[in-house]
C-alpha cells in the first residue's frame, strides 16, 4: 500500500511540513493530526511542501483548507511551498491557487512569510 509520509522541521517561527507519498481518503487523518498538533502548540505559520506528493484526494484538500482557515483566524497562514505536477493540476482545477497562497518552492513560501 502506498502511504503518506509527513515530516516537519521548524525554521525560525515557521514550521515546514513535508508531505510525501499518496494521500487517498484513508491517509487524510495523518495530515490532519500532524497539522492539528502544530496548531495546538501555537504554530500558525506553516509551509506545506508537497513536492513529493503524488496524489491528494479532495478530502485531503478539505483538510488543508480547513486548517488554513483556522490559522488565518489567528493571524497566521499555511502556504504551499512546492508541489508535483499532479498535485498542481488538482489544486488548479479546484481553484485552490486562487484563494490560498501557493508557491513553487518552500524558499519562496518562507520568503513570503518573512516579507
Amino acid at each position: 500500500m502506498k502511504h503518506v509520509e509527513i515530516t516537519n522541521q521548524p525554521k525560525g517561527k515557521i514550521e515546514i511540513v513535508k508531505v510525501a507519498g499518496f494521500m487517498d481518503m484513508a491517509e487524510v487523518p495523518k495530515l490532519e493530526q500532524a497539522l492539528d498538533a502544530l496548531i495546538k502548540e501555537g504554530t500558525i505559520r506553516i509551509v506545506l511542501d508537497l513536492t513529493g506528493l503524488e496524489y491528494v484526494s479532495s478530502a485531503g484538500l478539505g483538510a488543508i483548507i480547513g486548517r488554513i482557515r483556522e490559522v488565518r483566524r489567528s493571524g497566521g497562514d499555511i502556504k504551499i511551498g512546492g508541489y508535483s505536477e499532479m498535485v498542481y493540476n488538482i489544486l488548479e482545477t479546484f481553484g485552490f491557487t486562487q484563494v490560498f497562497d501557493t508557491y513553487t518552492s518552500r524558499e519562496e513560501a518562507i520568503q513570503k512569510f518573512e516579507a
Binding site: 484526494s57 479532495s58 480547513g66 486548517r67 483556522e70 481553484g95 486562487q98
Partner: protein
C-alpha cells in the same frame, strides 16, 4: 440508539462463606496437629519415664540384693528388715521392697505383717528378662505394677560359680507415671485450646481483611454488569488482590472503550444510512428525454461516502440546466450541504439562464454556512437544445469533456472557477467564467466526478484521465447509454476487486 447491556439475572446461590470455611480449616488443622502431638508426647513421656523407672528399679533391687546377701547368710533378720524398709522408702512410687528366700518364703517385707508368707506373683504377669534379673509386669489390686527381681547370690567354693540364695524385689506402682503423662497431656490441651482460640481469632481477622476487597470487587463487578462502566476501584494493596483490582479496572476501562467505539460505529453507520437515503431522494431516477439528443447517466455510490449528486433541471423553452457536484465531507453534514446546494441551485436556475450567475448565487448562499473543511465542486451548464449550444461554468470541478465527431478527439473545457464554500463572493465571482460551446451532430459533453478518474485498483494505480479519454474515443459511435456503459465497464475492469472509495457519477448528453 442503545447498546444492549446484559439483562440476565445473576444466578448464584450463596452457601457457606469464606470465613466459615477458613475457620473450619484452621480448627481441623489445629485438631490434627494436637492429636499427633498428643500421640507422640504420650508414648514418648511414658517410654522415657518407664525406662527411667527401670534403671532406678533395677539399681535399687540390685543394691538391695547385694546388701542382703551377707545378712541372709547370717540370718540377721533385723538387718534384713532394715534393708527392705530403707529400700521401700527410697523413692516415690515404690510400693514395697521384699526379700524372698530360695523356697519362695518372704524373709523381709516393707509390710512386716507379710513376713513368713510365700511370695506370690499374680497370674497373668508378664516376665521380661534383663541383664541383672527380671522385670515382672502385673496388676496388683487393680494397680499396674512393675516388680524388679534380682537374685541374691553368694560366692561359691568353686571360683566364679555363684550360688543363689534368694531374690530381692522392688515393686513400683505405675500410677505416678500415669499421673505425669496425664498432667503433660493436660498442659498440651491447655496450649491447644489457647492456640485454637488464637487461630480462630486470627482467621476471622485475616479472612475479613481478605474478604473486604473481594466483597468490594464482587459489588463492583455487579455494578459493572448492570452497566456502570465508569466505576474505578482503589488499588492500594500490592498483593494478588491488588492485582485483581487493577485488572478489574483495566477490564472496566476496556469495556467502556469498546462500548464507546460500538456506539460511535453504530452512530456513524446510522448517519451514513441517513445520508445515503437523502442522496437517493435527491438524485433524478431517470434522464430527461430531449428530442435530437441521447442522454445517459451513471451513479454508483460508494458504501461509506456520500458526496456526489447530479441534476437535470427543465428551464423551459428547450433549455435544460444540467449539473454535477461533489460535496466534500461524509455523512449527514455532507448530505445536508448537498441538499442545500441542490435546492439553492434549483431555485435560482429557473430565473437565470447564465450558469455563472447561478453558481455565484449558490456560493453567496452557501459559503457562510459551510464548515471550514467542507466545500462543493460543481459543474453546471445550460443546454439550449434548439441551438445545440452549451454554456458551461465550473466551480472547482473537473473539466467537462467535449467529444468532436469531426476530428474524433476530445476537448477538455475548464473555464476558471473556485469551489463553492472556500472563498468570499467577490473572489469567487471574479474568478468565475462561462464558456459557450457549440455542439454538432455526433458530438457530446461528459461531466464526471473524481470517483471516475481516481478509481483505484489494488496496486493503488488511478484509472486516470488518459484511460478515460481512450475509452470515450473507442465508444464514441454509440448512443449516450452505450458510451456510459463502456466507461462503467472499463472502470470496473480496471478496479477489479478493490473496494470503491468514492462515488462514481457521470452524465453524458449527445447530439444525435
Amino acid at each position: 440508539m442503545s447498546v444492549s447491556v446484559l439483562n440476565s439475572e445473576l444466578e448464584f446461590k450463596r452457601g457457606f462463606g469464606l470465613k466459615f470455611k477458613f475457620s473450619l480449616a484452621i480448627i481441623l488443622l489445629i485438631f490434627i496437629i494436637m492429636g499427633l502431638v498428643t500421640f507422640v508426647v504420650r508414648s514418648r513421656v511414658r517410654d522415657t519415664l518407664l525406662s527411667q523407672m527401670q534403671v532406678k528399679g533395677m539399681a535399687l533391687a540390685r543394691g538391695l540384693a547385694g546388701n542382703a546377701a551377707e545378712a541372709l547368710v547370717t540370718a540377721d533378720r533385723l538387718l534384713l528388715a532394715e534393708l527392705v524398709d530403707k529400700a521401700g522408702k527410697q523413692e516415690e512410687g515404690i510400693l514395697y521392697a521384699v526379700l524372698v528366700d530360695k523356697q519362695g518364703r518372704v524373709l523381709a517385707h516393707s509390710n512386716f505383717k507379710l513376713e513368713g508368707r510365700s511370695y506370690q506373683i499374680p497370674a497373668g504377669a508378664v516376665y521380661e528378662r534383663v541383664k541383672a534379673g527380671k522385670i515382672i509386669h502385673y496388676m496388683l489390686q487393680g494397680e499396674e505394677c512393675l516388680d524388679f527381681e534380682v537374685p541374691i547370690t553368694l560366692a561359691g567354693k568353686i571360683e566364679n560359680v555363684k550360688k543363689t540364695v534368694g531374690t530381692a524385689h522392688v515393686v513400683y506402682s505405675l500410677l505416678p507415671i500415669r499421673r505425669l503423662v496425664y498432667e503433660t497431656l493436660q498442659n498440651i490441651f491447655y496450649i491447644a485450646a489457647v492456640c485454637l482460640g488464637l487461630g480462630i481469632f486470627f482467621v476471622l481477622f485475616l479472612v475479613s481483611r481478605i474478604i473486604r476487597p473481594v466483597k468490594q470487587l464482587a459489588e463492583a463487578a455487579e455494578e459493572v454488569g448492570a452497566g456502570n462502566l465508569d466505576l474505578e476501584l482503589e488499588v492500594r494493596r500490592r498483593d494478588e488482590l491488588g492485582q485483581l483490582a487493577a485488572t478489574f479496572n483495566h477490564m472496566a476501562a476496556n469495556l467502556k472503550q469498546a462500548q464507546v467505539e460500538l456506539i460511535v460505529k453504530e452512530r456513524l453507520q446510522h448517519e451514513m444510512e441517513i445520508a445515503q437515503h437523502i442522496q437517493n431522494l435527491l438524485v433524478p431516477k431517470q434522464s430527461p428525454r430531449i428530442p435530437g439528443y441521447s442522454i445517459s447517466m451513471l451513479y454508483r455510490s460508494a458504501e461509506e461516502v456520500s458526496g456526489d449528486y447530479f441534476d437535470f433541471i427543465d428551464l423551459g423553452k428547450g433549455h435544460w440546466g444540467m449539473t454535477i457536484a461533489d460535496v466534500s465531507g461524509k455523512g449527514v453534514p455532507g448530505a445536508l450541504v448537498m441538499a442545500q446546494t441542490r435546492s439553492v441551485m434549483r431555485s435560482i436556475a429557473h430565473f437565470n439562464l447564465s450558469p455563472a450567475k447561478v453558481l455565484s448565487q449558490a456560493n453567496l448562499n452557501l459559503y457562510r454556512d459551510m464548515r471550514d473543511d467542507m466545500f462543493v465542486t460543481v459543474s453546471y451548464f445550460v443546454l439550449d437544445s434548439a441551438r445545440r449550444l452549451v454554456t458551461l461554468s465550473r466551480a472547482g470541478h473537473l473539466a467537462a469533456i467535449i467529444y468532436r465527431r469531426a476530428t474524433k478527439t476530445c476537448e477538455l473545457e475548464m473555464p476558471t472557477g473556485i469551489a463553492i464554500g472556500i472563498s468570499d463572493p467577490d473572489t469567487f465571482d471574479l474568478m468565475l467564467n462561462e464558456k459557450k460551446i457549440k455542439l454538432n451532430p455526433g458530438d457530446f459533453i461528459l461531466l464526471y466526478t473524481d470517483g471516475v478518474d481516481e478509481a483505484c485498483n489494488h496496486a493503488q494505480e488511478l484509472f486516470g484521465s488518459k484511460r478515460l479519454l481512450q475509452t470515450i474515443i473507442k465508444s464514441a459511435h454509440l448512443k449516450a447509454e452505450g458510451i456510459i456503459d463502456s466507461l462503467d465497464q472499463a472502470v470496473q475492469r480496471f478496479v477489479g476487486e478493490a473496494p470503491q472509495h468514492d462515488d462514481i457519477t457521470m452524465i453524458l448528453v449527445k447530439v444525435e
